[in-house]
């Protein structure tokens, strides 16, 4: 192990993103968004190479050249899983506000450090991104979670970060679950009545939304019309897939129990909070202008064209405090098209198929560490 002589250096400050970069996340023509994104990503690579010694070592070891990449495909990338195994920071410790950690379906969380700058970028990006969904005003917000999720001390989980992030986009939040995970249906009915005629913004993790707004509702014979409302859910389909619930069943359930018909999925990494991919009215996940997505062959890692499923690589203009701007995920997906979605949103749009099965690395021992 190399003994680093000094903590990460203060890199020369990154140029701020121009205001135009923030305006229309799904309306920006790609020939404007993409060059700007590439310039920014190259600047981020340079920044992280200087500020994060581990990142520099990885780039050198994998032979990524020093100069700027001429296309997204040529950008260096890290396996997202690396953030489960190493703490990588591009800012000195005293500038770190908090560490975000993922829920980790395989039990090992990813951790990334946020400084004030990155946190602000993320919040601003998320707000801009959500405007097509919730408009400019703040909608009455129903959080399909417990208030306690936010209040837990220590490193922030992905769930808490999502709730905190999206909560700022609504007003008068109602937390639907109590501390024991029980649904307060009466409170929800009262909330709907109190905000009669207003569009509700309902947010939660996909599995939780299913378990409460569909399964619990069915069990308790709840018949409530929550429309008009928009439901935003994310966090993966794995838990539902285990119960043989697919997207169609999910939507059908929500329409049946609570007359919820505007249902949108989002897909994103804890390592790239703020540049999530959002589901459009035509059911595809769109990359916002400050991000993009590539698909690579899982074995050769060569970039694949549209229509061919492969590993998703996500790039984002936002991560400044850690080298998370170009990441190869463990999720499989397919690029459906580029700038040709029937919904009218610009840019690349994809479908996500799900996680690659976890590699069964058979180490010596059958003994699992004590939980």
């Amino acid at each position: 192990m190399i003994d680093d002589p000094a903590p990460p250096l203060d890199a020369p400050p990154l140029e701020a993103l121009p205001d135009t970069a923030w305006r229309t996340p799904f309306d920006t023509p790609p020939d404007e968004a993409r060059p700007r994104l590439l310039t920014r990503l190259n600047a981020l690579t340079r920044h992280h190479r200087t500020a994060c010694p581990e990142y520099a070592r990885i780039l050198d070891a994998f032979g990524w050249a020093d100069g700027p990449a001429d296309a997204l495909e040529a950008l260096p990338w890290l396996p997202a899983a690396l953030f489960k195994r190493r703490e990588l920071a591009s800012v000195p410790a005293e500038r770190i506000l908090t560490w975000l950690s993922s829920s980790g379906t395989d039990g090992v969380p990813s951790r990334v450090p946020l400084d004030r700058a990155t946190a602000q970028l993320q919040a601003r990006a998320l707000a801009a991104l959500m405007r097509p969904l919730v408009g400019r005003g703040r909608l009455p917000l129903v959080v399909v979670d417990a208030a306690g999720t936010l209040r837990r001390g220590g490193p922030m989980s992905a769930r808490a970060a999502a709730v905190a992030g999206f909560a700022t986009m609504g007003r008068e939040p109602l937390f639907l679950l109590d501390g024991e995970g029980r649904v307060d249906w009466a409170a929800l009915a009262a909330y709907r009545a109190r905000h009669a005629g207003e569009r509700l913004f309902i947010f939660g993790f996909t599995a939780l939304v299913w378990e409460t707004l569909v399964e619990d509702a069915r069990r308790n014979g709840v018949a409530l019309d929550l429309s008009p409302a928009v439901v935003l859910h994310g966090g993966g389909w794995k838990r539902l897939a285990d119960h043989a619930v697919d997207a169609a069943a999910f939507r059908g359930g929500l329409a049946e129990t609570l007359n919820l018909t505007d249902v949108r999925n989002y897909y994103g990494l804890i390592e790239q909070v703020g540049t999530i991919l959002l589901e459009c009215p035509a059911g595809r996940l769109h990359a916002p202008a400050l991000a993009d997505v590539l698909v690579r062959d899982p074995v050769t890692l060569a970039p694949l064209p549209a229509g061919r499923p492969g590993l998703l690589q996500l790039v984002s203009a936002l991560p400044v405090s850690y080298p998370g701007h170009s990441l190869l995920t463990g999720d499989m997906g397919t690029v459906v098209g580029d700038d040709d979605c029937p919904c009218g949103w610009r840019g690349r749009h994809i479908v996500v198929h799900g996680r690659l099965p976890r590699a069964e690395i058979r180490g010596c021992s059958d003994v699992r560490p004590a939980a």
Binding site: I58, F62, P79, A81, D297, V299, L301, C364, S365
Partner: protein, 418 residues
Amino acid sequence: MSAPPPDPVELRLAPVVARTWPDALAGVRATLPMAPFVEPAVGFVAALAHALLSDRAMRRVPEVIALAHALRPAEVRRMAGDLAARTGCDRLRRARGLVFHVAPANVDTLFAWSWLLSLLCGNANVVRLSRRGGPAQAALLEVAGRLLAEPGWADIRARTLILAYGRDEAVTAALSAACDLRVVWGGDASVEALRRVPLPAGAQELSFPDRVSAAVIGAAAVNAADGDTLARVAEGLVNDVVWFDQNACSSPRAVLWVGAPAETEEARARFWPVFDGRLAETGWSLDGARTLARLAAAAELAADGRVRRWTTAPGGCAVLRGEAAGGEVSLSGHPGLGLLLEGSAASLDAAATRLPANVQTLACFGVSAEAVTAALAAARVDRVVPLGRALAFSTDWDGQDLLERLTRVVRLEALPRP
């Protein structure tokens, strides 16, 4: 929230009358030990080896063939002779009694090696299988099971219990309390976990901690080798690396070149293309999930500064090779999966200083055994073999003499005439 009930215990091979594991254990305990290397144990092992070697389906699982080969009659006779050489009229070798084996998750055939060696030594055996066993484990159990069902092997069946279960300390405790020797494979975590489970005062434990292994290659010999020799040596390293996904404790995870810099550079340029060619012929490759897992490990090794440069591209190549940083070649956290750290040294003595402390096997080409042993006077290397034989079974393992550990010595002093 209360703990979930333990998973059921599956009896894979058990004495005929047993339906539950306590019954099976009682049955096995009730048998009397046999002498080492007598019938029917010798006959059974010969029959099993023959059945495996002549079964065409075993071609899919070459590691099973390797096991059968290591237990063929000629080898068993050699083992018997080895043990006999240590006995005499005043010193006998007898079985320990009941041996409880805890098999590892990474080498499918090891449970059978441990079991059968112990059986040959006269012991009754209880084997806890890994539940993550693959096709080789399944194949072995199937063939052994068929054989044990035959009435001729009833005596063997009566003293054999092979089971699998999840986290169940009660079962482990009971099996440990019943045994005369506990054999723990599976690395530090297994050894430490099992050490917390008490053994009776009269029982011994044989344990196998985390070990790593490396290949040592003399550059001059590679440069002087003809095409056939080079092909043979490359094939040896290919097999040593790809079997068991490079996860066995004796799988070479590093390659140390010995020679002058120019010599070594030439040797590497000669050797690796032949290696890659032979590797491609085997068709061994990683799927997407393993490619990603290996990538994450490669990024980690680079981030830590333990690998300076990956000399093969991250995607598409079957074995990823990288230049180890100077000093000790650290192999902790190495994921297997076909990843080789390359280093070089001007001499064997210098190479010895680059080996990690828990290195077990050196698979060598182009260096003599005598030179290696001299250079390693201080190191903990337990095994020096030719390249290609890293994964071969041996009754000397991890510095232990297995035949000696699986038996006990009985001292018989001459008694004065009555």
